[in-house]
Amino acid sequence: MTTDINFSQTGRNSLVLLRILIGWHFLYEGVLKLYNPAWTSKAYLSSAELLTPLFQWLSGDGMIHLADNLNIFCLMVVGLSLLLGYFERIGSVFGIFLLLMYYLAHPALPGSSQAGTEGSYWIINKNLIEAAALFVLYQMPTGTYFGLHSLKKNLLNPKTK
């Protein structure tokens, strides 16, 4: 992840802003669930409309604890990596995976109930858009410009006059 993009400063700052916002969202979701032991994804998974056998298996008594903990772990990994600007490409991949799972369980397809969503969607919903935004961040990492990765880069490659 040493590659950085050749981009205008405004463009780079825009990507950093996008990274911070998405990281913020993921970390808050993860921490909130971490400190709320009553939370579970059981209802969301068990009512899945696509890949129903997979999601129902995940929501079963034997798997749900693991599924919940993995979800929290992944949410926090994504949030921390994006906010701190370190391993952000790995974080982006985790985030895309999570969002696609959320999407597949309750896709915005014609005929789907889309219960619990606050907007109106046809095929494309916010999960898919956020996943696409993470794909952009994966392609254009900014950690070497803004984030812990830049510290590492400067420490390992000090440049003197």
Partner: protein
């Protein structure tokens, strides 16, 4: 970037490197605070409510010799009761396998196959339609146990091939068959309503009380987890004084309006018409009367006995409030003018002026309750069953939800401190949140939502009727009294008859608690009025 900027690891670079750290700290703090606050509020509310939602211990073991069951009535409910016993018709098994193949969410066959074995044999059947009786014989006979057909219930109950009978006939046959079976020493499970008129309600009560066999009325919701939880909620006075209960029927399809299919092969040669008529006025063979008997007072009990009896007992099993002191009913045939003489829209107001669920206010301030049953067979909007108390409202069906009342005395402090929000449930029990159920018709959904079809034990969906029959079988094997015995059946039947009478006579019907009888209405024989072949008498 200039060379100069690159070469200096400036303070700015350091800030850009660690700028995310305080954001992480802030977001973490915000999420953790909210999570901890939510958890504390939830724990505090649950501690305050102290509701026990654990399932009851299962009824006793099914050990010993198989109990030999006779099925009397094998129309629509009869086969369902047989499935609850563990016996599925061949045609039903095939259709369920097909349904599960088409829709993986349809778990009806899987639930049936996972059902506990109750150690019973179906040894006899009595149905007045030859094809149905033969269906039972073909479906349930095994190499070891052949199902015998009896042409009359009398022969069946007196035979030595049955220990117990399940009665799923038209309403006008419930009590006569139950009485005959009890007198023959056979255990009885009878569908609701327990009786068809007032006189036989007393007769059945006397016979049950004089017998030493086990008697159960088929109000299977008594096994539904949410209703058991609701009993604990009322016992702990969480709702405060309940002044009003609303219960409803909303159905809008042929099946829900009792427009059942008529079998093409039903005719005077294949149906024992004379026996079907029984105590009802004789009319020439009429296939619609035979298959859609719920539409006439002569054989059925209308909305009051057929469906209100469910709702009344759903409330009575939670509150144990007994028979109302008075009943006022109204309604009409407004959506199905098809020759029926029972109403398809009906409202029944039941008064309990001396009853109270408890109070959080000054002693003596609150007393009395009304239960309103409101029904239509022309609309299926899902109105909930609500227990409306001074401190909280409880909605009960297969799930259970409690909302604190904004003006509650008991929860005043928690509402002022915003720990409780009257618009957000303070308690919710939803056993289905962990699984998906296959419901295939509007009427099935109506029953399922009311907690009449299935419940959950250890996270698994279980047929409520299976548990209700199991309880009856356990009492036969291990002793004890079933949850819907003659006292509960008597209360259900009398209340239903008061509803039907009030509708037909167009006036208030009173209950004399001391004499345990419906107060006579001058100029009428109440049983004659109840059964008379007219929609309304007055």
């Amino acid at each position: 970037m200039s060379e100069d900027k690159k070469s200096n690891w400036s303070r700015r670079d350091l800030l850009k490197g660690i700028a995310g750290v305080p954001i992480v700290g802030s977001v973490w703090w915000a999420g953790a605070s909210k999570g901890v606050n939510n958890t504390q509020a939830r724990d505090s509310i649950l501690k305050t409510l102290n509701i026990n939602a654990s399932p009851p211990p299962p009824s006793g073991p099914m050990a010993g010799d198989p109990i030999r069951i006779g099925i009397i009535g094998f129309g629509i409910r009869g086969p369902h009761l047989c499935r609850a016993l563990g016996f599925g018709q061949k045609s039903w098994l095939a259709s369920m396998a097909e349904a599960a193949k088409k829709n993986p969410k349809d778990t009806r066959l899987a639930s049936f196959l996972e059902q506990e074995h109750l150690n019973v044999n179906i040894t006899a059947v009595c149905d007045l339609f030859d094809l149905r009786a033969q269906d039972a014989i073909d479906s349930f006979s095994t190499d070891e146990v052949k199902v015998q057909r009896f042409k009359t219930h009398q022969e069946l109950v007196e035979s030595d091939v049955v220990d117990a009978v399940i009665i799923a006939t038209p309403d006008h046959w419930h009590a006569p068959i139950a009485i005959a079976a009890l007198q023959a020493g056979k255990h009885v499970y009878v569908e609701k309503p327990m009786t068809h008129n007032i006189k036989e309600t007393y007769e059945l009560k006397d016979v049950v009380e004089a017998s030493n066999v086990v008697f159960q009325v088929g109000h299977q919701h008594r096994q539904t987890q949410s209703f058991l939880t609701a009993q604990d909620i009322v016992k702990k006075n969480i709702l405060g004084h309940v002044s009003l209960i609303q219960a409803n029927t909303n159905r809008n399809d042929d099946n829900g309006a009792w427009q059942y299919p008529i079998h093409k092969k039903a005719n005077p040669n294949t149906v024992d018409w004379k026996q079907f008529i029984g105590s009802a006025p004789m009319v020439p063979f009429n296939a619609e009367h035979f298959f859609r008997w719920r539409k006439w007072w002569a054989y059925g009990s209308g909305l009051s006995g057929d469906l209100m009896s469910h709702d009344y007992d759903r409330v009575n099993c939670i509150l144990k409030m007994g028979i109302p002191s008075s009943v006022v009913a109204s309604g009409g045939i407004y959506t199905h003018k098809d020759g029926r003489n029972v109403p398809d829209v009906m409202q029944v107001n039941m008064e309990f002026p001396d009853f109270s669920t408890g109070s959080s206010q000054t002693a003596g301030k609150e007393k009395g309750m009304t239960m309103v049953y409101s029904a239509t067979l022309g609309n299926q909007y899902g109105r909930t069953t609500a227990f409306m108390g001074h401190d909280a409202t409880m909605e009960v069906g297969n799930s259970l939800t409690i909302y604190a009342d904004g003006k509650s005395t008991k929860f005043k402090e928690k509402i002022v401190s915003e720990e409780m929000d009257p618009n957000v449930p303070i308690y919710q029990y939803d056993p289905a949140s962990g699984s998906v159920d296959g419901v295939t018709s509007a009427t099935a959904k109506y029953f399922a939502d009311k907690g009449l079809l299935w419940t959950y034990r250890d996270g698994k969906r279980v047929d409520s009727t299976h548990l209700h029959i199991r309880e009856w079988l356990s009492c036969i094997r291990n002793g004890g009294t079933p949850s819907c015995n003659i006292k509960e059946g008597f209360e259900e039947a009398m209340t239903s008859h008061m509803g039907g009478l009030s509708y037909k006579l167009g006036r208030r019907i009173d209950w004399d608690q001391a004499k345990q009888e419906i107060v006579q209405v001058e100029g009428y024989d109440l049983d004659e009025a109840l059964l008379e072949d007219k929609e309304k008498i007055v």
